[in-house]
């Protein structure tokens, strides 16, 4: 039912060749022709020696020399052309495959990105794609040449003498078989080693990222031990791979065959069947075979490894996204309309499948158009999840989310996200200038909007104090900014987008009261007649909201205005009592209510 984009790893591995079949055929033919040209001098040298032996220096001899020179030139052009053709098709494929890979995983919904480690994705995009290319060029290209040489040389040898032919016909497959066995033996160790290398990388990276935690708990020694263990395993695997590869048995077969051929050939010369030139030719042909054999094992390894790389890639590419884009999205959505959660339940996918905990369970909600909503609740209650569903980062597992009466499933994610703006809880800033970070949502130049948004987000002032103002480059994940500074940049970034529905996920937690106050005034301005949902822990926001939603463990506990909740909701009263100043207010409340 579901369509699988890439059926087999082998197909993926060979995709570059299948894309340009004509070029591939020509390139392969050229490579084989080059192999032929490479073996030819051995024959010609033999001839020349024969000529020397029989008629001496003369026109015939000189002709041989010139022919060899001519072969050199032709060979140069042939290999160059073949190399050029292979380079074009394989490198283009690598470029396009990487791009395709990135675009595909980028389009996958957050469900995918929750499940798959981003470091691993990076490794696949960079390393695996590259190794698949390696497996074609240089590996396959050279193996074609090597096997071509082996076959052509064997034919020449067989033509020279039947027995020699038989020796080669037995020896060559044996050689190839052993070489293949060798690759099969090493390949898993090699893969394990590179996996161990990945794990060393992630162990270090994790510690380097969290270095402050490591320091604060004085656990440097513990981390060192953990690392040492990993490094120890890596050492063991590296050594094992190297040692397994050290004794390359197939070479012995070549040595044996060469020696046999030498003795046998010399015997043939002695008995007069062969000329001395033929012996020279035979030895030259073996030299040509050997010239290729030393790189054969490495390339065999790469080809075998490339298959595993291709498997890893298509496993990612074939991932089935539960979030399906509608064929033709509804474009006429009234984004200022009511927001309705219709019996929504939601589960995050986990990588091992068995997840029976719901982040949201049977949520029914109606948010009237243009209202200001506050969302409160305990950690893990499901507040962020509600906002993410509104942004269509996920589709509900059950039930529907409607805006202006239209199920978000029927709206293209692009349109949803153009209308809905979210300031996320864990701020992510890019390693770019402050200006580019704020203007991230701009499609074209938007200097004005950037300054305007920065001002509204109360960020302008501190930005101007940064070393290079708006052109200051922000360090990795914004680490050189204070918590409140990061949050204000993120708010500005969303304001630039000018969303119809604004979602603020606990976006002022690190902002002081005074700045928050100014910020809210500015936001009130922006959000006139638009719907906004704010996750907050601050009382003030609750008071100013038209609707308060309390959510705990994925279930809606109560909804209503402050006044009604403080009357009716035990849960709300409990929260509210904890807030300082609540008591005087609660006491004052009856009076106020009377006034209303």
């Amino acid at each position: 039912m579901a369509e699988v984009k890439y059926k087999s790893a082998t197909g993926y591995q060979l995709a570059a060749l299948r894309r340009y079949p004509g070029v591939t055929i020509v390139a392969t033919a050229l490579a084989l022709f080059a192999s032929y040209l490479l073996t030819l001098p051995a024959i010609l040298i033999g001839n020349a020696i024969n000529i020397l032996d029989t008629e001496g220096l003369g026109f015939a001899f000189i002709m041989q020399v010139w022919t060899i020179l001519g072969i050199a030139l032709t060979l140069f052009l042939t290999i160059l052309l073949a190399g050029y053709a292979f380079a074009i098709i394989t490198l283009r494929w690598e470029r396009d495959a990487r791009q395709e890979f990135f675009e595909l995983i980028q389009d996958n919904s957050m469900t995918f990105h929750d499940q798959v480690d981003s470091n691993q994705l990076l490794a696949v995009a960079m390393q695996d794609v590259r190794w698949v290319r390696f497996s074609l060029n240089p590996a396959l290209r050279n193996i074609i040449s090597a096997i071509g040489t082996l076959i052509i040389a064997s034919i020449f040898l067989a033509l020279m003498d039947v027995w020699l032919g038989i020796i080669v016909v037995i020896g060559a497959p044996l050689y190839l078989y052993l070489a293949y066995r060798y690759a099969v033996k090493i390949e898993p160790v090699r893969r394990k080693r590179s996996e161990q290398n990945e794990s060393i990388t992630s162990i270090s990276q994790e510690v380097f990222r969290g270095i402050e935690v490591v320091r604060a708990f004085g656990s440097e020694e513990r981390e060192q031990e953990k690392f040492n263990d990993a490094a120890g395993v890596y050492e063991e695997l590296t050594a094992r791979e190297g040692k397994l590869g050290a004794f390359y048995l197939p070479t012995l077969i070549l040595i044996a065959i060469t020696t046999i051929a030498f003795v046998y050939g010399a015997y043939l010369v002695l008995v007069g069947t062969w000329s001395v030139g033929m012996l020279v030719s035979a030895l030259g042909l073996f030299a040509a075979i050997e010239g290729f054999s030393f790189m054969l094992p490495r390339f065999l390894l790469v080809i075998r490894g490339g298959h595993v790389n291709a498997q890893r890639i298509i496993k990612v590419l074939n991932w089935q996204d539960p979030l399906e884009e509608p064929e033709l999205g509804v474009t006429e959505v009234d984004w200022t309309g009511d927001i309705v959660f219709d019996n929504v339940s939601f589960q995050y996918a986990t990588d091992n499948g068995h997840n029976n905990s719901y982040a949201l369970k049977n949520v029914n909600l109606t948010i009237p158009s243009g209202s200001r909503v506050a969302l409160i609740g305990g950690p893990g209650g499901g507040k962020s999840t509600i906002l993410k569903l509104l942004l269509r980062l996920y589709d509900p597992t059950e039930g529907r989310v409607l805006v202006g009466g239209i199920d978000l499933r029927n709206v293209l994610t692009r349109d949803v996200r153009a209308a809905v703006g979210l300031v996320e809880q864990d701020i992510f800033l890019f390693r770019m200038s402050v200006r580019d970070n704020i203007g991230f949502g701009c499609v074209e130049a938007c200097e004005e909007e950037i300054f305007d948004a920065a001002q509204k987000a109360q960020a302008h002032e501190f930005i101007m104090k940064l070393p290079k103002g708006y052109d200051t480059i922000i360090g990795e994940r914004g680490m050189t900014l204070s918590g409140g500074q990061r949050q204000r940049l993120a708010i500005a970034r969303t304001l630039v987008q000018n969303p119809k529905i604004l979602l603020l996920d606990d976006s002022v937690s690190a902002i002081d009261a005074q700045t928050e106050y100014s910020l809210r005034k500015a936001l009130d301005e922006v959000m006139k007649n638009r719907t906004s949902i704010t996750v907050t822990q601050r009382l003030r926001t609750l008071l100013e909201s038209d609707l308060i939603i309390i959510i705990d463990k994925g279930v809606i506990i109560a909804t209503g205005t402050h006044d009604s909740l403080i009357e009716n909701s035990e849960h709300y009263q409990r929260i509210f009592k904890r807030l300082p100043g609540a008591l005087p207010y609660a006491q004052k409340k009856p009076g106020k209510e009377a006034g209303n």
């Binding site: 001098p41 040298i45 020349a48 020696i49 032996d53 220096l57 001899f61 060899i68 020179l69 290999i79 160059l80 050029y84 490198l91 690598e94 990135f102 980028q106 957050m110 929750d114 994705l121 990076l122 995009a125 060393i200 380097f208 990222r209 969290g210 935690v213 490591v214 320091r215 708990f217 004085g218 890596y234 590296t238 050594a239 190297g242 040595i255 030498f262 010399a266 001395v276 030895l283 990588d351 305990g378 950690p379 942004l391 890019f430 991230f440 070393p467 990795e476 204070s482 409140g484 987008q497 690190a510 002081d512 009261a513 106050y517 822990q537 003030r540 904890r578 807030l579 300082p580 100043g581």
Partner: protein, 635 residues
């Protein structure tokens, strides 16, 4: 020698090698340590193998000469065959053993380097981490160590290839000087190749590596910010940016590959042309009334000239890898030789049991020279006291916490615990006694249980469960897919922000420190959860020195004293009542902003007054410290 040391040297971008070749080589071999003997033996093996393989064609040539004489004994041929096979076999055995020995040594070499670099990095100044991407730091441990191991091999291979070259040339010379000289026709081509690859090749390779690095950096960043790209509909643009970089990388990659592709036919064609030349010269010498050469020797010349070319090329190819390993050694030495500015001095002692309380004495600090983040900060937190720090965002509160943990040292002034200066306390005992709940919680990719246990490795599961119950974390942990055994991915992206914060609180509380610092530790919790945490804190940490940094009034409600920060200075300090009575900054803040966190409406008028008050920019009042120090009853 002008090598800069310390954090700035580490953080500084490096474009050129900063150490002389000799030093780098010495370091590279110096690090071989216990593998020296193995390496020496391996090298000897490699050299003997090389010599064997240089001379084996001689026996084939002798055979050819033999068969030219009619009626030569077959036994002699057999004998030559045996010598040949023994030589080749021995050479195979030796060079295989060389690889075998070397790979063991290399693996060990990598490991010891990795461990040393890692050890150093874990103790390196935080400023180094701030200046670099974690991916780049990681490559010191992985890529650079691999490069160094390859470097060792390159040097040995270099020696044996040189030997092969010299031996081959000598044999040719012995056969006939003219043949040897003829073989030199390959030299111009080799020079062209070496020059081409030394200049254009090297440049293209570096450019191509850089281009790939850019692609990889872009992919990495886009993947970690994927949710932002989605939220802002920037997928097409990020794809376009990547496509541009990708195309660039293709362009350089293609150029480089073409250069490499060019080399192969050049070498092969030159080899064959050289064969033709030797054949011609050899042929001319072998014929005539007094032949100077036998046909066997012509054959030998032909074989040898082909062997002559490869070592030359291998050598020129090695140059690149050799350079790379030197560059790696340089970077690695930067780390290994840097003196972290924060480390135990010789006279450092553990924190004494009696030392408690924190005092800042005229502390000035800046992350970037010239831009002071803290200026002349003075305050004291008495033993057992709970003090709150409030102030605008970016005022320097987190910086205070970082300084107490000695992530950085102050530029001027001193920080003391009890009477002990931080700089005289061993880092280990400092971190055992001081614990921080950081503003940005960071969890490891491990189970929830192990993440909490990180605070105190010897804690039992029961203790962890009990603590989790106490702070109200148990409830949500229990319902996670695998409860306490749920594995966190990428720092807890499968948890909610508040859950992450709870776990980091549990982790620190489990550590049971003498001094506790909470930097916006509960900012992501709702009031109810926060109150649970506060109750737990009271229960577990009452009468311990505690600093609380917060914007929310709820969080600082229990503090006995407050420090008000603005722009890196303390402008007021005292108890809540004292500060209100002072009618200064805090009062203005409280009336307008903190109070409004309660239910008070802010009248426009009150706001105006407050803002005027704040705008006055009064010079900081003389610190209240002294007067309060006398009646030590802050807590």
């Amino acid at each position: 020698m002008a090598i800069r040391r310390g954090p700035t040297a580490l953080a500084g971008e490096k474009f050129k090698r900063s150490r002389p070749l000799r030093r780098l080589l010495a370091a590279q071999f110096g690090y071989l340590g216990r593998f020296k003997k193995t390496i020496v033996i391996a090298t000897i093996f490699a050299i003997i193998a090389t010599i064997f393989s240089a001379i084996d064609p001689i026996f084939l040539a002798t055979g050819i000469n033999l068969v030219l004489v009619p009626g030569a004994p077959l036994g002699a041929i057999l004998f030559l065959g045996i010598i040949y096979v023994v030589l080749r076999g021995a050479s195979w055995l030796l060079s295989s053993s060389y690889t075998w020995l070397l790979s063991g040594a290399q693996a060990g070499y990598i490991r010891s380097l990795q461990q040393d670099i890692y050890r150093k990095l874990v103790h390196t100044d935080l400023s180094y981490y701030r200046a670099k991407q974690s991916g780049e730091i990681t490559s010191r441990v992985t890529t650079d160590t691999d490069n160094l191991a390859v470097g060792i091999q390159i040097i040995i291979d270099f020696a044996s290839q040189m030997l092969l070259l010299v031996a081959t040339f000598m044999i040719m010379w012995l056969v006939n000087p003219l043949i040897a000289l003829t073989s030199l026709v390959v030299v111009p081509v080799v020079i062209i190749i070496v020059v081409l690859f030394g200049t254009v090749g090297q440049r293209t390779m570096l450019a191509s590596q850089r281009a790939i690095g850019l692609v990889s950096g872009q992919v990495a960043e886009n993947l970690s910010g994927i949710h932002i790209a989605k939220a802002f509909n920037r997928e097409d643009e990020t794809a376009a940016t990547l496509s541009k970089l990708n195309q660039e990388s293709y362009r350089y990659g293609f150029k480089f590959m073409m250069l490499m592709t060019l080399m192969q036919p050049m070498v092969r064609a030159t080899g064959i042309a050289a064969v033709a030349a030797v054949l011609f010269v050899g042929g001319s010498l072998a014929i005539g009334t007094t032949p100077l050469l036998t046909l066997g020797e012509v054959f030998l010349g032909v074989i040898l000239v082909q062997r002559f070319l490869w070592p030359l090329l291998t050598l020129s190819m090695m140059a690149t890898q050799f350079q790379a390993s030197l560059a790696s050694m340089d970077r690695v030495l930067d780390i290994l030789e840097a003196k972290p500015s924060i480390q135990d001095t010789e006279t450092a002692v553990p924190l004494q049991a009696s030392s408690d309380g924190i005092s800042f004495d005229n502390v000035t600090f800046s992350y970037i020279q010239g831009a002071e983040v803290l200026e002349d900060v003075n305050f004291t937190v008495y033993p057992g006291e709970l003090v709150a720090i409030v102030g605008h965002t970016g005022a320097g509160k987190t910086t205070i916490a970082a300084l107490i943990n000695r992530f950085y040292d102050p530029e001027k002034g001193s920080i003391r615990i009890g009477e002990q200066d931080l700089r005289s306390i061993t880092l280990e005992s400092l971190h055992e006694n001081v614990a921080l709940i950081a503003q940005e919680p960071y969890l490891f990719d491990d189970t929830v249980m192990e993440n909490i246990r990180y605070g105190r490795p010897e804690a039992t599961n029961e203790e962890i469960l009990e603590l989790s119950r106490l702070i109200g974390a148990h409830e949500f942990i229990e319902v996670l897919p695998q409860g306490y055994e749920t594995k966190l991915s990428e720092g807890g992206k499968n948890l909610s922000a508040g859950q992450v914060q709870m776990i980091s609180i549990a982790r620190t509380m489990l550590a049971n420190p003498k001094i506790l610092i909470l930097d916006e530790a509960t900012s992501r919790l709702d009031a109810y959860s926060e109150s649970l945490v506060q109750t737990a804190q009271e229960q577990l940490f009452s009468n311990r020195t505690t600093i609380v940094i917060a914007h929310r009034l709820t969080t600082i409600a229990n503090a006995s004293r407050l420090l008000v920060f603005e722009n890196g200075r303390i402008i007021e300090q005292g108890t809540h009542e004292e500060l209100l009575a002072m009618r200064g900054h805090y009062k203005a803040l409280y009336d307008t902003y903190y109070a409004h966190q309660t239910a008070e409406e802010i009248s426009e008028e009150a706001l105006k007054i407050a803002q005027e008050e704040l705008a006055k920019e009064e010079p900081p009042k003389p610190p209240l410290g002294p007067s309060m120090k006398k009646d030590k009853n802050g807590g």
